[in-house]
């Protein structure tokens, strides 16, 4: 419902909106522009990984041969073994001056070997490369299959060497936080500060129902959410156009991936409004709403870890703003868009119901 309250809300929030809009513009334009530099340096680094060669035994019980290119100035080499490409649980396999080792294959699953060199002049070891027992596998790609990353990309294995992968990981993984928390902050404070600053008595001495008050505030929040999304769409498309990457990541994809965020932000806004009328304090409402956003995020990432935790995904609003489907598969899930919109409406109705029951404190 659009009316005088919506208008007043937008007017009083204009300063914040412009500051935030500027921030979104800067980040969404500059993010794609970082991409070419990032891609080039990453490609260079990945080429280094080829300096380690792993030969698998031809028959069971044979020996694995791991060899690497010698590094000038190296005083010794170290081989680390792990079953994860991230090498976070690595054990030392070898320490010495040889550039080739062989050992028995006494395991079934895959292993990763990272070779580093001790160089006399420097104290930090130099990475020579990473090799995997899995044939034809790129260890860096496997790193991206790490659940921590796939949680952000809907369980997909994606390449940071493509504009799509880079934008999905580097832009969208923080965009939800930036936009979500901004909307949470505004929707809580726009209502709770009316309680805290004792503006409710005068407001409700005019013939405005509590329902209309909340609906108008919600409309204002939805307009604000739409505004920052449109700014981000413009910025991101502009940035991608600037690096001539729109053939890889089209303006339409930018639009559909970000517009799916509108009902997502409307749900956050409705939760913010609900907590504001429930607790009537900016701080408490903000704490609860922020906690809600983070809890939903963790539910989604945990839900991506394993099949048995998939139910967590189903109850997370992040699951229904599926930007990776749009980016990687070109599928815009209208049903998800509708589901989030319905959820937002239901939450607003609950908010109205709670507000109509509550006393306005003095």
């Amino acid at each position: 419902m659009i009316g005088r309250i919506t208008y007043m809300e937008l007017r009083t929030g204009l300063k914040w909106l412009l500051i935030f809009g500027l921030l979104v513009t800067i980040v969404s334009i500059s993010m794609p522009m970082i991409y070419p530099t990032f891609r080039d340096s990453l490609t260079e680094e990945l080429e280094g990984a080829n300096k380690v060669d792993l030969e698998l035994p031809s028959e069971d019980g044979g020996m694995i041969v791991l060899s690497w290119e010698p590094l000038e100035n190296a005083t010794s080499y170290m081989v680390l073994e792990d079953n994860r490409s991230s090498m976070v649980t690595a054990k030392i396999k070898y320490l010495g001056v040889e550039t080739s080792i062989s050992f028995e294959k006494d395991f079934e699953e895959k292993r990763y070997y990272a070779v580093t060199a001790e160089v006399a002049e420097t104290s930090d070891p130099v990475l020579i490369g990473i090799a995997s027992t899995e044939e034809g596998e790129d260890p860096f790609q496997d790193l991206l299959k790490n659940p921590a990353y796939s949680g952000l990309t809907g369980g997909r294995s994606i390449s940071m060497l493509e504009a799509k992968g880079f934008i999905a990981l580097e832009f969208f993984s923080w965009w939800w936080m930036l936009a979500g928390l901004f909307i949470a902050y505004l929707s809580v404070s726009f209502i709770a500060s009316d309680f805290e600053n004792k503006r409710m008595d005068v407001m409700f001495s005019t013939p405005i129902s509590r329902r209309r008050y909340l609906l108008e505030k919600f409309t204002a929040m939805s307009i604000i959410a739409l505004f920052i999304i449109l700014v981000a769409i413009g910025g991101l498309a502009g940035g991608l156009g600037n690096i001539n990457a729109l053939h890889e990541f089209s303006a339409e994809t930018v639009f559909l991936s970000l517009i799916g965020c509108l009902p997502f932000l409307m749900v956050i806004s409705a939760v913010g409004m609900l907590t504001a009328v429930l607790f009537q304090k900016v701080r408490v409402g903000m704490g609860v709403t922020f906690a809600f956003v983070f809890a939903e995020f963790f539910l989604y990432t945990f839900g991506n870890f394993s099949k048995s935790l998939e139910w967590m995904k189903a109850i997370s609003i992040f699951n229904y703003w599926d930007y990776s489907s749009v980016i990687f598969d070109n599928i815009f899930k209208t049903e998800n868009f509708i589901a989030l919109t319905v959820l937002a409406i239901v939450l607003v109705i609950i908010g109205i119901w709670v507000f109509e029951k509550k006393d306005i404190p003095t």
């Binding site: 007043m8 004792k198 001495s205 003095t362």
Partner: protein, 303 residues
Amino acid sequence: MEQEKAIIIENLTKLYGKHVGVRNLNLTVNKGEIMGFLGPNGAGKTTTIRSSLALISKTAGKITIFGMDSHRDSVEIRKKMGYLPGDFGLISSVKVRSYIKYLLSLSNYPSTKKMTSLAERLELDIDRKTNELSKGNKQKVGIVQALMADQDLIIMDEPTAGLDPLMQQEFYRILREEQKQGKTIFMASHNLAEVEKVCDRVAIIREGHLEVVEKIQSLQEKTGKVLEVEFSDAISVDEFQIRGVSEIQEDDGKLTLTIHENLDDVIEAVSRHRILNMNLRTYSLEQLFLKYYTEENRKRGVA
């Protein structure tokens, strides 16, 4: 007759947990009168008023305003009602003019004529920003917004708080003019003198109970005025034993007495002596309770 009443409060009870806001309060405000609602801080005045506006729920009882239910028909009622809260905030960093216009638009009242004239009379500069206002000026904004939409019923909670005496006088004049136009005014105050000045009737509330509803005139007759006179010559207490005068005390040439009626006889008696100083004052609310209502209660065998 139902249509002659602006507000009918029946058995209103509001509890905040164990704390009693008001209990079993019955009160009627007639159309066209200025009714004072008098009581010390925390007596339940604000609770009663805010229940009438449906800002808070009732625990029990019924409030009817212009024949409509206070809570069910709240929005309809508020089309005919202006309200000045006892404590309120303004939208900050906007001009008073735009804030007030915003409120007018919420009330669907397009004319700014009354608002401008009220602001002028109260010497309120509406081109200032809301966050630059002093306490008194903020209160003026509250008064203006309560009256500007030309509502039939105006409820005010401590309207003169923060106003200087000159502004208070102007405010009382405005209230009387409103009354002449047929408006009903229900005004909470803890200041007996203020209520005496402008109200036709007064309801006195204490600790959530309605103590009494009286016409101002009969209240004045009952409570009387306190006269203090300092004389330079000797006087005798017996000289002032006049009908309608009580509590006569003399202490070192200083006479204190309470006048209920026959003020001219008292003045005549006083004028027979050389007067150094003289002061006639109203009972304070506290004195009123101490003196009059505890006696009433005793008579009723309550306290």
